[in-house]
């Protein structure tokens, strides 16, 4: 995105596409927003009803997926269309290790993150090695996720299409990552994950490696020419991205206690990760969280509105599918009206 705008206004476009450029001011903002997220995350369970809290939980899962996607595609410049693969690997590894080996989901999560990272680095290495780029790269990630879904659906050890159900334990059990249904612990843990993911992103983007990564995204030729090890930085950012997404998978599993191939590797998962990040702002640290706050509750809001419709909407009540139609219309409208995403637009405006 830098190339097309750079011709007209180099200085502006550099700044908007690399949020770390205006460093000290934005760093202070980042720490402030981080603290705000922590406070809000800590207090929300006292304010919301259990039903609302489960929507908030979905916001966190979406945000984590979006942050993962944004790392690789927003900052790394490699458009992934198959982040369901890493989400699914996280969820399935944890579920498999929990049910067949009896391993605690905490450990399972670490293993899942490691497996997802290995898979992501492997596939990205192949793609970069063989110079699969642009739309072809996007389709190769898509195919990878689909392959995993089909593999799981045909594998007896992974219960084919039935998926895994996490056995219910009595009471709260920190060791097994399981709490009673309306316990706020899930949300607090999720907030913790979110904070860790955000801090990891911030630290990485501020580091030498992160700056090199963004330089590589903006101009790979130039970056390689001044001696930046392009491949290594691309693989690093891919690894971080996959690990965050896999953690989201484990969080999903432990919260909903169930996972099947469609939930884990389905195409909707990749879509959600992309939509969340794009709506908030691609290549923006806070984009995915803002996007998730809008995307995750959308279908619930529409569904709730249609259950008790106001007078003029009465003829639409009880129509299945309408919530998704509205979701789709909002999605298209947002993309057309706010091409830089919400955070991207705000940042651009405030710098003018």
């Amino acid at each position: 995105m830098s190339t097309s705008t750079a011709a007209q206004a180099p200085s502006v476009s550099r700044r908007t596409s690399t949020p770390m450029a205006a460093s000290t001011v934005s760093m202070r903002w980042n720490w402030f927003l981080l603290a705000l997220t922590a406070v809000v995350g800590a207090l929300l369970p006292f304010i919301l009803t259990p039903a609302e809290l489960s929507v908030a939980m979905r916001v966190i899962i979406f945000a984590l997926m979006g942050i993962g996607w944004n790392m690789m595609s927003g900052f790394g410049g490699m458009f992934s269309f198959g982040h369901a693969a890493y989400f699914g690997i996280g969820a399935y590894t944890t579920a498999f290790l929990l049910l067949d080996v009896g391993m605690s989901p905490w450990l399972g999560m670490i293993v899942g993150m490691a497996v997802a990272t290995a898979a992501a680095v492997g596939i990205s290495y192949l793609a970069l090695r063989y110079k699969v780029k642009g739309a072809y790269y996007a389709l190769s990630t898509f195919a990878f996720a689909e392959m995993l879904r089909l593999f799981v659906m045909g594998n007896d050890g992974l219960h084919r299409t039935l998926g895994f159900t996490v056995p219910v334990l009595q009471g709260d059990n920190w060791g097994m990552f399981q709490f009673s249904a309306d316990s706020p612990n899930y949300f607090w843990i999720g907030t913790g994950f979110l904070l860790v993911a955000l801090i990891v992103s911030m630290v990485f983007l501020r580091s030498r490696a992160g700056r090199f990564t963004i330089a590589t995204r903006d101009d790979e030729m130039a970056a390689a020419a001044i001696g930046i090890p392009v491949l290594r930085h691309k693989l690093t950012v891919t690894a971080i991205s996959a690990a965050i997404t896999a953690a989201a998978g484990t969080l999903y599993l432990q919260f909903y206690m169930f996972v099947d191939p469609e939930i884990a590797f389905g195409h909707a998962v990749s879509n959600n990760a992309i939509i969340t990040a794009v709506l908030g702002g691609v290549g923006m640290l806070w984009g995915p969280l803002v996007g998730a706050i809008i995307v995750a509750p959308l279908s619930d809001l529409v569904a709730a509105l249609l259950r008790n419709p106001p007078e003029w909407l009465a003829l639409l009540s009880g129509q299945s599918g309408l919530d998704i139609v509205i979701y789709a219309v909002i999605l298209i409208a947002c993309v057309l009206v706010l091409p830089k995403g919400i955070v991207g637009t705000i940042v651009t405006r405030s710098r003018k």
């Binding site: 072809y136 996007a138 998704i324």
Partner: protein, 342 residues
């Protein structure tokens, strides 16, 4: 850099480097004889392997026939997709939903107006052409220079909207369209439905028609010119935005024809098209993105791979083999089996 989405879509961007993605410069770059031979040899090897594993000639023969016929359907569905990608460089994710929409239009024409299913083509093709042109004109033309994910999200939104509108209007009950006089015919021990044979012929006719439109008409020449260089086309006075609109309309019309043919032998439901979505992408990449005749061959290869893979690896989803082949081809020959390196 090359995959920074905007760069690969902005025509004015300087060619980044020598190994830039092999973006097809022409809508036609036909399969070379050598690659055709190699592909054929691999298909023969796979057939022999499948025959040995299954241990029955009849089973193998049935698989080959089914594979070819299914492959024809895949080609049909991928045709519009590859045309749109070749000219507009948009991965049209709504392609599957448009197939479903065309199926429902066929159903409505057959059950409501009492038409013969194939006569419904007279309704679905123009209707979808208008719809496609409208989509391009209103939604996609303003964002032609935006990053790849912007266009992708619009087509995803479109797919969701179409599928769920169909769900709202027609309900979740699966429907079907009966082709008068359709029955299974036996061919050297393999049984085949007539409707599938017609669909296969339909695929061949459609390729021929598209080829004629692209190569023998002024509009087609303009479309190919825009695919090769939008800037250059603008300089010689071609209305590039109009060509985009016409191309998307043409792609949608091809998809409409596919939907009508397919509706005679599949259950019609809102998600019936997106089942083909995945396969259609594979076909498009195998054939070389933007390569219309390539899509025909790619479809046949995918159809055969699916059937033979099902025989060689029983118990696994046949599509799995397709995706493995897809990834291998993507890495080994990213411009598609039948694409040529630029």
């Amino acid at each position: 850099m090359a995959q920074s989405p905007a760069a690969s879509l902005t025509p004015s961007a300087p060619a980044p480097n020598a190994e830039a993605p092999a973006r097809p410069k022409r809508t036609y770059n036909g399969p070379s004889p050598r690659t055709l031979l190699v592909t054929l040899a691999m298909v023969v090897t796979a057939s022999v392997l499948a025959g040995v594993v299954s241990g029955s000639v009849t089973v193998l023969f049935q698989a080959l026939i089914t594979g070819l016929l299914t492959g024809g359907i895949y080609s049909l569905i991928a045709m519009g997709l590859t045309l749109v990608y070749g000219v507009l460089h948009i991965i049209n994710f709504a392609n599957g939903a448009m197939v479903a929409l065309s199926m429902f239009l066929t159903y409505a024409a057959v059950s409501g107006l009492g038409l013969h299913p194939y006569m419904a083509l007279l309704i679905t093709v123009p209707a979808m052409f208008v719809l496609g042109a409208a989509v391009q004109g209103t939604l996609l033309n303003p964002i032609m220079k935006a990053p790849i994910h912007t266009q992708l999200l619009v087509t995803i939104g479109l797919a969701l909207a179409i599928e769920n509108l169909l769900l709202m209007i027609f309900g979740p009950t699966p429907l079907s369209v009966e082709l008068p006089g359709d029955h299974g015919v036996s061919f050297l021990g393999a049984s085949v439905d007539l409707s599938r044979i017609y669909a296969f012929i339909g695929a061949l006719v459609l390729v021929a028609l598209l080829w004629l439109v692209l190569h023998k008409t002024r509009i087609g020449t303009a479309i190919r010119s825009v695919a090769a260089s939008p800037e250059g086309s603008r300089l010689v006075g071609i209305d590039v935005k109009l060509i985009y609109v016409l191309t998307f309309g043409l792609g949608a019309a091809a998809t409409a024809a596919a939907g009508t043919f397919v509706s005679t032998f599949t259950t019609i439901e809102p998600t019936a098209g997106s089942v083909f979505n995945l396969t259609a992408f594979v076909v498009v990449v195998l054939g070389g993105m933007g390569n219309v005749p390539g899509a025909l061959v790619g479809g046949l290869v995918v159809g055969l791979t699916e059937q033979l893979g099902g025989l060689i690896f029983p118990g696994q989803s046949p599509l799995l083999t397709v995706f493995v082949v897809f990834l291998i081809v993507l890495f080994a020959k990213p411009q598609g089996i039948f694409g040529r390196a630029s």
